[in-house]
Symmetry: D2
Subunit: 155 residues, 4 copies
Amino acid sequence: MTTAIAPELSVSEWLNAAAPLTLAALRGRPVLLHAFQMLCPGCVSHGTPQTQRAHDMFKNTDLQVIGLHTVFEHHEAMKPVSLKAFVHENKLTFPIGVDTPGEDTPIPVTMASYGMRGTPTMILIRRNGTVYHHGFGQQDDMAVGAMIASVLTET
Amino acid sequence: MTTAIAPELSVSEWLNAAAPLTLAALRGRPVLLHAFQMLCPGCVSHGTPQTQRAHDMFKNTDLQVIGLHTVFEHHEAMKPVSLKAFVHENKLTFPIGVDTPGEDTPIPVTMASYGMRGTPTMILIRRNGTVYHHGFGQQDDMAVGAMIASVLTET
Amino acid sequence: MTTAIAPELSVSEWLNAAAPLTLAALRGRPVLLHAFQMLCPGCVSHGTPQTQRAHDMFKNTDLQVIGLHTVFEHHEAMKPVSLKAFVHENKLTFPIGVDTPGEDTPIPVTMASYGMRGTPTMILIRRNGTVYHHGFGQQDDMAVGAMIASVLTET
Amino acid sequence: MTTAIAPELSVSEWLNAAAPLTLAALRGRPVLLHAFQMLCPGCVSHGTPQTQRAHDMFKNTDLQVIGLHTVFEHHEAMKPVSLKAFVHENKLTFPIGVDTPGEDTPIPVTMASYGMRGTPTMILIRRNGTVYHHGFGQQDDMAVGAMIASVLTET
């Protein structure tokens, strides 16, 4: 179990959010972070719809669901204008941040600071700001439900 | 929220169990009860495999998963000899009790005492013996994971 | 490509049929034969519903769909009384024959005469009585549609 | 049954093709046309993978499978640079043409000439150049297999 505080998000643009979100401001609430790319098949078929379902299922709790568009390949193909159409067509309603592009690297800033291996990646952050779960690839629905309920019951 | 203690199980025969199980003896542990019929299509396609996955996922917790064969129709078709083959073929490993047949009614005893409306039915019982969830029909995996984690964290 | 005539069915009892069916009487029409066991998980989840869909989809053609209950294990668990409940619960409407039990062998007669390796098995018979396809295990829907259309266009 | 010849394709750019394809040059062969948009959820989850499977399944026949990127909304989001990444990520190997953008209308040229209602649309063209099937929305795998086999057997 890690006791390090999860790195702050670095986001260049927000969708579905009235104002920028920060982990610092969310301290005290659990955060479900879904890192994805709009052209990653495993994200589109599984991870992103799963995240939307978690957003809907736990809407009456203080869980904060956040999408993070971590583009690390095909950058020209997945610009914000394309992401916005993707979000519209897939009826995504949770806040989504565009991970800040890296300098001298195809890997965006937040993706690098978390050491993510690819997309989709699910990161679940405790109320105290530490990482409870960091999972790469398809996550099981039942396990996701259990993990979220667990961090919600932590004080 | 009900505060009544869940009715005791009435079981005529156990599979996958070294000895009979009772809710009384399990007091202090949460119990996931899956009421099914081996020829109920919704049980076979969804409820029973989901219960097996819950059994596997929470094996390192003190959750007790129990199947209950609540035959209320086609009694001649779903006798214990058929149930045993079903359990073998579907590789079910959690304890399964045969609900005691009713007298002068097609509804078996435990099914009646819980007021179940049909199969599959999922009943989740708290450590203190009260019912946390009584759901008829298909249950969502994420919700099931969340409910189990919630009762596990109760003291 | 085999030119041998497919063996005649040996059936001890029919469901969903006003009178016994024979391949001899069906000569001139293509026949889709689905060999299954009611407690075979792959049959219940895939093969049997697929067969029902083929029966529905080609109802306006002269394809004859036939189910064959080829019990080769757990014989006591899958007697006709259980099969009838299974057929009712799963809303199967195509004719289903109970493969005649073998003597001195757990393998029923038709299953043996076709050299079937297990269940589910799909056998597609041409208008001229020869076997067009003999497939063990899960069959792809698109391929099944194509094979049926092919034998329907043969003269 | 229509006897009109299917309108010629109007394509501004081809992917997965050594040279432009035309229906005129393909006369004598059946053609499966899959009209899609890369950000249409029903295309991504069902229609496009189904088309790839048809391409693979009938590769030893003279069926020609063609994708047509019929962008009629979110034009800025689905430019060819994005389509190319989509094709790469989803491992699509059949030829795909970009439907020529319309003048004074969001509807591209081929989409309009066929009177398509949206995406996905599947159009199956006979050897003689007439339309055998024009289907909007999700197409059933078994029916698709049957239709393709039927047009393949036509002379």
